[in-house]
Symmetry: C3
Subunit: 162 residues, 3 copies
Amino acid sequence: MTTPAPSVDERLAALEARLGAAEDRLAIYQVIATYGPTVDTVSPDGVTSIWLEDGVYDSGGYMPMAGAQAIRDMLFAPTHQALIERGCAHIMSMPHVTLSGDTAVALGYSCLFARTDGSWVTERVSSNRWELVRTPAGWRVSQRVNRQLEATEESRALLRVP
Amino acid sequence: MTTPAPSVDERLAALEARLGAAEDRLAIYQVIATYGPTVDTVSPDGVTSIWLEDGVYDSGGYMPMAGAQAIRDMLFAPTHQALIERGCAHIMSMPHVTLSGDTAVALGYSCLFARTDGSWVTERVSSNRWELVRTPAGWRVSQRVNRQLEATEESRALLRVP
Amino acid sequence: MTTPAPSVDERLAALEARLGAAEDRLAIYQVIATYGPTVDTVSPDGVTSIWLEDGVYDSGGYMPMAGAQAIRDMLFAPTHQALIERGCAHIMSMPHVTLSGDTAVALGYSCLFARTDGSWVTERVSSNRWELVRTPAGWRVSQRVNRQLEATEESRALLRVP
């Protein structure tokens, strides 16, 4: 006894679901690949475009930045401006992505390189946990937490695959 | 004379094949993006989940690790534990992927950064050749070979695009 | 009043367009992931395979390399050969990609690591703007411009998200 062949409608529905998941992964890659270019060019609208309006960025050592205005302000704060004046690159790794319907978690690394006296210094290497949500305008970050990987359980915990 | 328009069945079959190839690429990215987070969190089940049960990891300077138990043991060996105690990040680059039916080859780089006296040291930069196979449970690594890029033909050979 | 359900033909056409865009993104990732392995193995056919025959690579500090022969020659020039003799890795980051029909722009970072006295030195960290075009043989680079991120507006401008 053979299984009946799937109908055209069943094949279309399966394709639509599978393609949606592939598009979700690519969209999340794109969100994460937007961070570096927008912070390194001091582009506030670009940086905030990847977060929810009330999204959070908790980078450790400070109060978490809550909401678009706080994230925007970070670009003009002395710490970030000093990096820009030296020359800097915020480079995100290709992340591990777990999709769960309308939310997703992406895990990966960020490296911050900055110039000092004509050489490159690896300023920070951090673990990152990005929580994302699907919105009508596309995937947005609800919360990004990162911590420098300084042999602390807190920094490692962010990288635990769900 | 015009070519007859493809039938619905032909269009569905073409979409299914093309989508399958795109999904394969994304699945292989995900496999490779799993390595860093699982070794840097000392997660033996996570690390071995990306290899075949009898898969091989040949990282040079040692006997190749053959099989899940050997790869698991690596996490608890003094070399890896010393990195964890310093703070470390194993970062894989976005790979070049060549699909061949139920097998694939992915080529890329791995960087190992570790803390020393409050600074980041680039401990290793290596070429990587990942051989993968499609299994009922998804893509798995049959063999990963990497070598530090120390101006040797052996290390460069791993990166030759097929 | 309900919207009529889309026809089979409409669903197929929508899938074909969406899948095409996903494939374009993956193909552009693959183009960019080809650069490092081909230059670090001194593979002239591999490197030139990602550019148009008359494509340009403008890496700053030199005349832009215009055309396949100039890009090929770069591999055998003293600067590149000296890197190969030290041991080197040209690592491209996962890029931000903007598709516009038959052209695309990819923005990202490149890091050049090279060996010196048994240690790794971060030789260059650069911003990259890749302009690509769709050809019958796949996506090809019409122009790549990169600049070391030395706190210059020229280097930052390359990373502005379109």
